[in-house]
Symmetry: C2
Subunit: 293 residues, 2 copies
Amino acid sequence: MSRVTIADVAIAAGVSKTAVSFAFNNPENLGQATLERVLRVARDLGYAPHPAARALSMRRSGTMGVLIPQRLSTVFANPFLSELIQGLGEQCEEHDLTLLLVPPVDGSLESAISQASVDGFISLGLGPDDKALAVLDRNGIPTVLVDSDGSPEHPAVNVDDKGGAEEAARHLLELGHTQLAIIVLPPTRSELETTPTAVRRMEGYEVAIAGAGAPAPECVTAGISVEAGARAFQQLREGARRATAVLAMSDMTAIGVMSAARASGLRVPDDLSVVGFDDLPMAAWTNPPLTTV
Amino acid sequence: MSRVTIADVAIAAGVSKTAVSFAFNNPENLGQATLERVLRVARDLGYAPHPAARALSMRRSGTMGVLIPQRLSTVFANPFLSELIQGLGEQCEEHDLTLLLVPPVDGSLESAISQASVDGFISLGLGPDDKALAVLDRNGIPTVLVDSDGSPEHPAVNVDDKGGAEEAARHLLELGHTQLAIIVLPPTRSELETTPTAVRRMEGYEVAIAGAGAPAPECVTAGISVEAGARAFQQLREGARRATAVLAMSDMTAIGVMSAARASGLRVPDDLSVVGFDDLPMAAWTNPPLTTV
DNA sequence: GATCGGCCCTAAACCGCTTTACTAAAGCGG
DNA sequence: CCGCTTTAGTAAAGCGGTTTAGGGCCGATC
C-alpha cells in the first residue's frame, strides 16, 4: 500500500541498498548486468526516491524559494510579480529546479522561512535590516534580494525606482502640467509603513516636482488593481485641488484611473494625463496605450 | 557556520534531543522550567528544525503541489490559471500549507512528481488515463483532479466545458449569425493532441451549430494570449470564408481578436461578434466589455 | 606461489528530526 | 515506610536515502 523504498528494490533485485543508490546516482560503480537488473526491478516496482530523504542526506532539495512579503492571494493579482515569477520559473526550468512560493505564515516571514525546504531564496521587497534576513543568514541559506534597498551582505537586483519616478514626473511637467497627483503603493506587511519601493519612487517624483518649482502634489494611496485605481480617481475628484495629471506607482492602478476617468467623461490624455510604472505588457493594450516607466 | 541542529540545542540546554523536540511539539511533556530554558536556548542559538528532516520523520511536508501540464513560464501568462492558483493559495494560507508549483521536468511530469516533496497534488488538465496519475497512485499521493475528464478513482472538480460552449455558440446563433469561426486552445504537453478541455468545448460548439443547421465553422488554433488572438484574427481575415462571429476558447484570445478587429477598422460587435470563455475579471474592462462564459 | 591492484559490491555510519518504550524520581494514600 | 501511580526526562529505533570504508575475488606481476 505504502511507498516503495530503496530497501524494497534492493531485496527484490537481490542487492544492497547501496547498489540501488549507485544505479541511480553513480552507475559507473556497478557492473553492466547488475545495473540493468536493478534499474529494471526499480521500474517494475515503480520506485521513486523519497524527496525528503534525498534532501536530508544530500543537503540539497532542488528547490528555489521565492520569499514573498505579502499574502499569496495578492501575488497573482499583481501582474508585475507574476512577470517576475514567470522569469524565475524559466530559469528554474533550465536548471531543473522547482519553485516554491513562500508567503508569510500567520503573518510571519521568519517562521515561513524555516518551514521551507529550499536551497536558496529570492526575496522580494525585503529591507536590508529585515529580521527575516537575519534568520536566513543564521541558517546559512543563500539569498538574493530583489526590489530591496540593497545590502552589503547580499547580492541584490533592483529597479531604479527613484530615477524612473523622476523621469515620469519630469515627463508630465514638461508637458506643461503643474498640479500633479500621486497614487502611492499600498503597504504590504504591516498596515502602517509604506514599502521601501514606494518611498524610493516618491523621492523621485518629489525631486522632479521640486526641480520644476511646481506645487506640492496631492497624494492618495491605492492597492495594485484596476478597481483600486478607479477608487483612487474618485477620491481625487472629490478633493479640492484639481490635478491635471496623475502619477501612479503601478500600471494596474494607472489603468484603473484611466478607465474611471473616461467613464466619467474625461478625455485621456486631453483632460487628464496618466503615467504608470512597471511597463506591463498589458499597458500596451489599453486605449490609448498607457504611458509608463 | 553551518546550521544549528537539535543536538546543538540539546547540549547547550543540558537536555536530550527528545526534550528539545518536545519543547516544540509536545510542550505538555516537559516541566515548566525545562520548557522555558530549552525554548530560550533555542531562540538564542537561532535554531529552526530542518524541514527535510522533519518531513522525513513526520511523513508529511506541509506542502501542497499543483501539477501543471505546461511550462512554468506560460502559467503566469494565463490569467485563468493565475486565478485558479490564487484560489488555491488562499486555501493553503488558511491551513498553513505552502504551495509548490510542479511543471514538467524535461518534458516529463512523472519525474517531476517524484522529485516533489508534497503531501498531495492538485492536478490540472490531466486525463484520467494519464501515466502521471498512475505514478501518483503507486506512490500513494492523494490527488484531486481539476479540469480533467473525471475519473472514478479520484475526486475531481471540473468546468462544464461542453455546456458552456454550447451556450456560447447558441447565443451567437440566436443573434442571427450563421458563419462562425472557432479559435481552439493550443496543445500543452505534446505538440500533437489537443487538450481534453479543448475537445469538450469543441463538442459543445458543434452540438449548438449542428442543432441550428448552420454551416461548419472555420477553426484556427491559437495560444492563450492577446497577441495570439490578434494573429488568429489575421489568419481568419485571410481565409476564404468571412465569419461574422468568433467563438474563442479563452478570454485572452478573445480580447486579442477584439482589439485586432477594431484596429483593422471593424466595429465590435456590429461587424464582428466575439465570445470568450473563462470569465476573467479582465474581460469586464475591455471596451466594449467582452461577452464570455 | 605469494603479493598486488582493480573491479564490484556491501556493511554501517550518517543526515536531523520524531516517537516509542522505558526509567528514575517524586507524590501519595494507607 | 511501602507499593502505587504520575511526572519528567532519556536512550534508541526509526524515517529513506547517500556515502565512506572496506571486503571478496579476479588476473597480472615479480
